[in-house]
């Protein structure tokens, strides 16, 4: 009953935001070209790294492409859902319109996390999928049921972690008002998700597994693809993802206590 209500509301969200985004058709076309060029650029960069070396951090070029594919999918998801919605929080708080969100008879986190959608990210998701399919062919990966479920589980955990990171930073807006740039910092950190974790030095590896778990986001799903991942790593990722989700939810509810609307 409740679930059906939320599904219905989400359908309305999709409809309105797609309608408003499709107003700018050339914009979408430009964004599509941008996504394509960006993928070409990162493969170009990767090929520079590999031009005289067979291995980077123990990964072959064909294997590193898997990371690139997963990164592209996750980046597409970020651009489709997280980026347009969570930058909106900043606006809501600065202009005091968060009041209207809180008054609605619907969960506020649901509302601000899913209200908008940016269709140009879809191409990035598709590009990532094609790259992954290509990688499955060149790495001769067998498509078994356990492989498919494990990769689905790990990728959805990555999406949860990524969402929580974004949501966490956007929530801090309630205190700091302008967190636009903190999001830029997160983006630049996420950039290293394009490369295998082992190619970094030990201290950075520790930093990116404990403080900002970028290691979990791309490297573990890619290891699942190659059949290298141990069970404990997958379990760890599930645990980290759930901890992040729960904490981000709690943090949001906690932060709302400190929200005072624009006029009060």
């Amino acid at each position: 009953m409740n679930l059906r209500k939320y599904l219905n509301v989400y359908k309305k969200f999709l409809h309105t935001s797609l309608a408003s985004e499709l107003e700018y058709k050339t914009n979408i076309l430009v964004d599509l070209i941008t996504a394509l060029l960006s993928l070409i650029g990162s493969i170009f960069l990767l090929s520079i790294f590999f031009q005289n070396n067979g291995y980077i951090g123990g990964w072959k070029f064909e294997q590193a492409l898997i990371i690139q594919g997963i990164y592209t999918i996750l980046n597409g998801i970020t651009n489709t859902w997280f980026n347009p919605n969570l930058t909106e929080i900043v606006k809501h708080i600065r202009e005091g319109t968060l009041d209207f969100v809180l008054l609605k008879p619907i969960d506020s986190q649901f509302f601000i996390s899913l209200k908008k959608i940016n269709p140009s990210g879809f191409l990035e998701i598709m590009l990532g999928f094609f790259l992954l399919l290509f990688c499955i062919r060149i790495n001769q990966i067998n498509l078994t049921l356990s492989f498919l479920t494990l990769s689905l589980i790990t990728i959805s955990c990555s999406i949860c972690i990524l969402y929580s990171l974004w949501f966490f930073i956007s929530t801090t807006t309630i205190w700091f008002v302008k967190t636009w740039n903190a999001i830029e910092v997160l983006r630049s950190f996420l950039y290293i998700g394009r490369f295998p974790l082992n190619s970094f030095s030990f201290s950075l590896r520790v930093f990116f597994s404990i403080f900002i778990p970028i290691a979990f986001i791309t490297t573990i799903p890619s290891e699942v693809f190659l059949g290298l991942s141990q069970l404990w790593k997958i379990l760890l990722e599930v645990i980290v993802a759930s901890v992040f989700l729960v904490t981000s939810r709690k943090f949001w509810l906690f932060a709302l206590k400190f929200y005072s609307s624009a006029s009060s």
């Binding site: 700018y24 050339t26 914009n27 430009v30 964004d31 070209i33 941008t34 060029l37 960006s38 650029g41 990162s42 170009f44 960069l45 090929s47 520079i48 790294f49 031009q51 005289n52 070396n53 980077i56 951090g57 700091f176 302008k178 636009w180 740039n181 903190a182 830029e184 910092v185 983006r187 630049s188 950039y191 290293i192 490369f195 190619s199 970094f200 030095s201 950075l204």
Partner: protein, 264 residues
């Protein structure tokens, strides 16, 4: 007399913008942090001994990436985003009435931001030297001056390119997506992520004809003491400015003729 007036205009603009920027210190500090991608790249290069194949020692490479970080810090341009917002909100109309091209306002804004950013960039460099004490170097005064000049020229090139894109707002409203498209080749070809020397020869054959290597690679090589052709680099930078400036003037005069204020 006239010279005095212009001088006063410039000083007032700079003063106003500088005090404005000082209000947002934290924000600018975060911007500075978000520029640390070159250091991650350096980590990949040295950790995998990739630099051996391009004959650059560890120390010179770390100096290169630190210089690239500095050049990037002082050549970041965001005029298109400011202008887009102003033009969507209808703020351009009052600017157009003033006897001052609004781009001077944005230009002063950028310069003021660079002054505010300087201490933060120094702090980041300080931390970099703590972790890499062997890469400390003091460039001689002539080289230092030349690299400041070439960084400024690189800033000018990017400012002109973005201003041209910003003028497209007169026609398309959302010009920032075009800027995001142009940012991709800037990111991958300018030398921010990998020095241009390391590029494969099929790219190196044409890249020096484009403005990209003069944005970061050339000033960074100059500052870090890597091999580079100073006179060719500087003259190419100046050549690009001479090519872009008339284009900007043309598109500005066409655009202002086309401009219709909101409500008219």
């Amino acid at each position: 007399m006239k010279f005095n007036l212009i001088n006063r205009k410039i000083l007032t603009l700079l003063k106003v913008q500088y005090s404005n920027m000082l209000e947002y210190r934290v924000e600018i500090a975060l911007w500075a942090i978000s520029g640390i991608i070159p250091f991650f790249m350096l980590n990949i290069w040295t950790n995998n001994n990739l630099n051996e194949s391009i004959n650059i020692s560890d120390v010179l490479l770390s100096r290169y990436f630190l210089s690239a970080f500095f050049v990037r810090q002082f050549s970041v341009v965001w005029v298109v985003f400011s202008f887009e917002e102003d033009s969507l909100m209808g703020k351009v109309s009052p600017y157009l009435i003033q006897p001052l091209n609004p781009f001077f306002r944005y230009f002063a804004q950028h310069l003021a931001e660079q002054i505010t950013r300087f201490p933060f960039a120094l702090i980041i460099a300080f931390f970099f030297f703590i972790f890499n004490p062997e890469s400390i170097w003091i460039p001689n005064l002539g080289i230092l001056l030349l690299s400041i000049v070439s960084t400024f020229l690189s800033f000018l090139i990017q400012f002109l390119i973005q201003s041209i894109v910003a003028c497209l707002c007169f026609w398309t409203e959302k010009a920032s997506s075009i800027e995001r498209l142009l940012f991709i080749p800037t990111l991958f070809l300018s030398g921010l992520l990998a020095p241009v020397v390391s590029f494969p020869s099929y790219v190196k054959s044409w890249i020096y004809l484009t403005p990209f290597p003069y944005l970061i690679d050339f000033p960074a090589n100059l500052l870090s003491g890597n091999e580079t052709n100073i006179s060719v680099g500087l003259s190419m930078q100046i050549l690009w400015i001479f090519l872009l400036f008339p284009l900007f003037k043309k598109i500005w005069s066409e655009g202002t003729k086309k401009y219709t204020a909101m409500g008219s």
